[in-house]
């Protein structure tokens, strides 16, 4: 996991090294995701989310790339 100031910097960094860019997550998305995703971690028995529940959380913060699909399709 690497940290960049902007998506332009991600593209420039990858271009210079001949590598594919990975999925980018903004600060705001990361914050919103973490509030929801980790919000139950202090429960004595945190509920395990179903794939549909997880997908709804990701979509809710704008993470729609297949990388975030909880039931990945095989290549």
């Amino acid at each position: 996991m690497l940290f960049f100031r902007s998506e332009d910097e991600i593209r420039a960094w990858c271009r210079g090294r001949g590598v594919e860019p990975g999925p980018a997550v903004s600060v705001e998305q990361l914050w919103r995701l973490s509030v929801v995703w980790y919000g139950t971690r202090l429960h004595p028995e945190p509920p395990r989310r179903t794939p549909d529940e997880a997908r709804a959380i990701f979509v809710g913060v704008g993470l729609t790339d297949p990388f975030w699909d909880p039931v990945p399709r095989q290549e």
Binding site: M1, L2, F3, F4, R5, S6, E7, E9, I10, W13, C14, R15, G16, R17, G18, V19, E20, P21, G22, P23, A24, V25, S26, V27, L30, W31, L33, S34, V35, W37, Y38, R41, P66, F67, W68, D69, P70, P72, R73, Q74, E75
Partner: protein, 447 residues
């Protein structure tokens, strides 16, 4: 597309977030393969060297010269089964003003101790072939990048071992193919990049080198190299001829080796040499050889192009690597070096390549001064070491990666199997697992 497409899984990202809470930044998830192709920069490259005989010593002296021209190389450890060789390398380091390297001379597996104990960035091996893979693997398993003399491996299993170890550890495994940095090879690459030869459709390379005296010497490579000719009928040494033309054809970066057919002729040269150079009753005269004196292999690429590669080391002949690259607009052929480009050359006649050099010399050959011809095969060995260090220092993808090393080295095993089975076609494994379609083409570097 799977959740693993970008290397880190979704679960790994979320698990990392659980520990780090909200991380205020953009996040670009990078695959192990991407980190393998471009590792973080290393301003001062700390090197452990394994095998400092002939070529190993050349590399040590080159690396010291690279440091002298542009500080940032440190040879911290030297390993060799011959203590005098290790001491000689140590003396070179000392004479160059470096700190005395630790020597590892407790037998043929002492590189394992070196890899485990030393703080190094790179382990460089120039040992007999059978140690290349074990040394590289030991290096990578201990968190070091690896560089190896050619061939990187001698079997398909060994090729996969390098690839899988490099991917798992995220470390470079570079095969040091010096001929990729040859004056003419680089000019041809430059011609191809400029489009002068048109679309490249065919190439020929080889290693045609009378090695009879080397194979029968009682020192250096003579101690081990001849043994491969006893047992294997194949192209034993494919990378010098194949490496440069593979770069011109973007192998591993837009195309890949698909399959190979191979055949060998009779084995005569080494038996004749032994009979003519050793007295009656000498054990060398009783040796039997499997290696056909001339081995010819044909490679078809995934994009439908063709390459021939020749191995010819047992017969009296002048040296050649062939070095032929043919495109839709023209052709370059080495030994002697000549060019023909439609519309520029006289119809149906070769130009002496020297008349093209001034205009089309590769920028690296123009711009990078070499400390001297004596440091191994003209300047190409120096440029090879220089570029390895530059890439490591700057965190750039190395110009030969582990997938290249595997694909080029695989020719030996595949040609052996094809020869043994009436030239049956043998498929190359796709060591990149599809990456060849998207890996970026090699650039024309300038310094």
């Amino acid at each position: 597309m799977t959740e693993k497409r970008f290397g880190l899984t979704r679960r790994q990202v979320l698990a990392a977030g659980a520990g780090a809470a909200a991380v205020p930044a953009f996040v670009g998830a990078q695959s192990p393969r991407a980190s393998l192709l471009a590792a973080p920069p290393i301003p001062n490259v700390r090197i452990g060297f394994v095998g400092v005989g002939g070529m190993g010593t050349v590399h040590v002296r080159n690396l010291l010269a690279v440091h002298e021209a542009s500080p940032g190389v440190e040879i911290r450890a030297v390993c060799d089964i011959v203590p005098e060789h290790a001491e000689r390398a140590r003396d070179f380091v000392r004479e160059a003003g470096g700190a005395e390297p630790t020597l590892y001379t407790r037998g043929e597996r002492d590189y394992e101790r070196m890899c485990a104990e030393e703080e190094l960035d790179l382990v460089f091996t120039a040992t007999p072939w059978r140690f290349h893979v074990p040394v590289c693997v030991a290096a990578m398993e201990n968190g070091k990048h690896a560089a190896t003399e050619v061939p990187a491996a001698t079997t398909i299993d060994e090729c996969w071992q390098l690839v899988e170890t490099a991917e798992r550890t995220g470390r470079h495994c570079v095969m040091m193919e010096n001929c990729n940095y040859g004056r003419w090879e680089m000019m041809v690459f430059h011609l191809v990049r400029l489009g002068v030869l048109g679309e490249v459709l065919h190439a020929e390379g080889g290693y045609l080198h009378d090695l009879r005296d080397v194979k029968f010497a009682n020192r250096g490579e003579g101690l081990w190299r001849r043994a491969h000719s006893h047992t294997r009928n194949a192209n034993l040494y494919p990378t010098h001829g194949l490496g440069p033309v593979a770069n011109c054809m973007d192998i591993g970066r837009g195309d890949r080796f698909d399959y190979l057919v191979s055949m060998s002729g009779p084995s005569r040269g080494l038996q004749d040499y032994a009979r003519e150079h050793f007295p009656e009753g000498a054990p060398q005269r009783a040796e039997e050889f499997t290696l056909g004196d001339v081995n010819l292999s044909l490679i078809k690429t995934a994009r439908g192009r063709t390459i021939t590669v020749v191995h010819d080391t047992n017969l009296p002949r002048p040296y050649s690597r062939i070095n032929l690259v043919q495109g839709t607009r023209g052709i370059f052929q080495g030994y002697p070096n000549r060019v023909y480009v439609e519309g520029r050359s006289e119809s149906h006649r070769w130009d002496d390549a020297e008349t093209w050099y001034e205009e089309y010399a590769h920028p690296l050959w123009r711009n990078v001064a070499s400390p001297g011809e004596e440091l191994g095969h003209g300047r190409m060995d120096y440029l090879e070491d220089y570029r390895l260090i530059r890439c490591l220092q700057e965190g750039l993808p190395t110009e030969m990666n582990v997938y290249d090393a595997a694909a080029l080295s695989a020719v030996t095993d595949l040609s052996e199997r094809s020869v043994a089975d009436r030239s049956r076609p043998m498929d190359f494994p796709d060591f990149t697992r599809g990456g060849w379609e998207t890996f970026e083409k090699l650039p024309v570097v300038t310094d």
